[in-house]
Amino acid sequence: MTYHLRTSLRIVLFLSLLTGVNSAASGPWRVGQGEVSVKCPMTVGGSFDARTSALTGTLTASAGRPSAFEGSLALDLRTVDTGIDLRNDHLREKYLEVDKGAGYDQAVLSDVVLQGLNVDAPAGKGSFTGSLMLHGVKKTVTGPVEIRQAGTGWRVRASFPVNLPDYNIDKPRYLGVGVKDTVQVLVTFTATQS
């Protein structure tokens, strides 16, 4: 009796732990501190960074699709800063048209799928695909991603190119100086799982 009781307790304990681990691994990833840096190569040579830390969102491991996440990450485009006021004005108002209405003031990344990484133990290097909604246009993006354990959460670093004409964004040009068609987006954030 004692033997069976001990065995039963061990099984219950094991199942409880297993369930707990699984629920922790599949819990939603909430974005904590984040930063998005967009490297903009200039037509005259050189480049500048447009940055913002206004990144929010939650990603939840998809029950039906391994390595896929439901939910989205959103970036407030009104906060993107290039370090030059005039350039900020042009970027936000003339090219991103953040005042145009819904879908224009945010960039939203959704339908994220990891490749080469395990959602349950995601530390490592791999790649991802996702859907980027920008300037009212939704397109698939893809790029490398690196995930590291950071305390009780994860530190995520991903990058992908964005071709501006694909999103119906006018070629940024002013007084003979402009930004080339393709910019490189670098997303870095810490995520905690609940």
Partner: protein
């Protein structure tokens, strides 16, 4: 020669050295994420006439009292600058068409102090009219002005630069004419050791061809010259083939690495010589830029032997449009008798109230380590850019 006379001669030489400055390039703007000169200047080597974008940026973003009040040209109307972004404050209206002009004047006061005395001089460093036309990738550029009197000669006409260039969208560029060869960092101060002692001074342009190519974050520039322009024009025996190569890699928008090399063939009067060096610039914050350039000067003993030349320039924007600079500089003697080891400390304050006028105050402490002699120079400049 008495000591007093010797030092008067020395101070006069220094006055002459400092007596002409070309329009400034400002590597300190790396802190504002500008790694390339061509964003604001017509010349790929930096300095000289500002483009409409450069004038606008100067007014709106870099000047102390500039701001949003600037009436900027509309996109597509680059040839219609007005107000502060135009020649003579737009007094000529549209009369110039696609021609962009700038008038540069630099009234200055110079005081050179040396053991036993000092010498003061008021002078007009620059008086140059600069013009450029840019269409469909082509640029025609020229300066016309006067060179301050030197060596007892009269003030004379000089065109420091005149060239025609073509720049393709894919990054390939070519230009030909009188131009300063691409090498290292073009510090605004033409007396910086890496300029003054390496023949990249205010009048060291060559007649030649420069080919450049931008490949991603890299810029490669190669300049082939038939000789220094002044040597060719004056037929003074110093004319010789020269070649420079410069490679710049923008590691980030605020970090750049530069490698350079130069070769100058022998002349009737000079042995052949060469330079090889590296420069690194980074801006840890949007208000601080640190550039360091180190060159090995590969000279024959007749020109000072193999020596090292190093310049650091640290710039700090204390307030919008007020830049403070500190620049230690070194030139070793090469171990050749008759050539000295030189050290310099430069402190500078540049106030940029508006696009059309800047004020600069520089204090140089120069020390000849070989002869243990020090001099100091105070230079105050009003830079009018009309």
């Amino acid at each position: 020669m008495t000591t007093t006379v010797r030092w008067k001669v020395f101070s006069l030489a220094l006055v002459i050295v400092a007596a002409a400055a070309s329009a400034s390039a400002e590597p300190m703007f790396l802190a504002k994420q500008y790694t390339r000169c061509t964003a604001c200047h017509y010349s790929p080597a930096g300095g000289g006439l500002l483009t409409p974008y450069g004038r606008l940026l100067s007014h709106r973003e870099l000047s102390t009292t500039g701001g949003n009040a600037a009436a900027a040209p509309e996109p597509g109307n680059e040839d219609d600058p007005h107000g502060e972004q135009a020649f003579l404050y737009g007094a000529l209206g549209n009369a110039l068409g696609p021609v962009h002009l700038g008038l540069e004047l630099r009234p200055s006061h110079l005081r050179v102090s040396f053991p036993g005395g000092h010498q003061d001089q008021n002078l007009l460093m620059n008086l140059d009219l600069i013009g450029a036309v840019q269409k469909n990738g082509w640029t025609a550029y020229a300066t016309a002005g006067r060179e301050p009197a030197a060596h007892g000669e009269d003030v004379r006409f000089i065109s420091y630069e005149h060239w025609i260039g073509y720049q393709r969208d894919d990054g390939f560029g070519i230009r030909a004419g009188r131009l300063l060869p691409a090498y290292g960092v073009r510090f605004a101060d033409h007396t910086a050791y890496t300029r003054g002692y390496e023949d990249f001074d205010h009048d060291d342009q060559v007649y030649g061809v420069e080919v450049s190519d931008t490949m991603g974050p890299s810029l490669v520039q190669v300049t082939l010259g038939a000789g220094k322009a002044e040597a060719i024009l004056q037929d003074d025996g110093h004319q010789a083939f020269s070649m420079t190569a410069r490679w710049q890699l923008d590691l980030t928008p605020r970090t750049a690495l530069i490698g350079s090399a130069a070769y100058r063939h022998s002349t009737d009067l000079d042995p052949r010589s060469g330079l090889i060096g590296a420069a690194f610039g980074f801006a840890p914050t949007p208000r601080v830029t640190i550039w360091t350039q180190v060159d090995a000067s590969l000279q024959t003993p007749a020109r000072g032997g193999h020596s090292w030349i190093a310049v650091n320039e640290t710039s700090f924007e204390a307030y919008r449009g007020l830049w403070l600079k500190f620049s230690p500089q070194l030139k070793t003697s090469g171990g050749v008798p008759g050539f000295s080891e030189l050290r310099r400390l430069l402190f500078e304050a540049d106030l940029l109230p508006r696009t059309h006028w800047n004020v600069g105050v520089s204090y140089y402490h120069d020390h000849n380590h070989t002869f243990e002699v020090s001099t100091s120079t105070l230079l105050a400049q009003l830079h009018l850019y009309l």
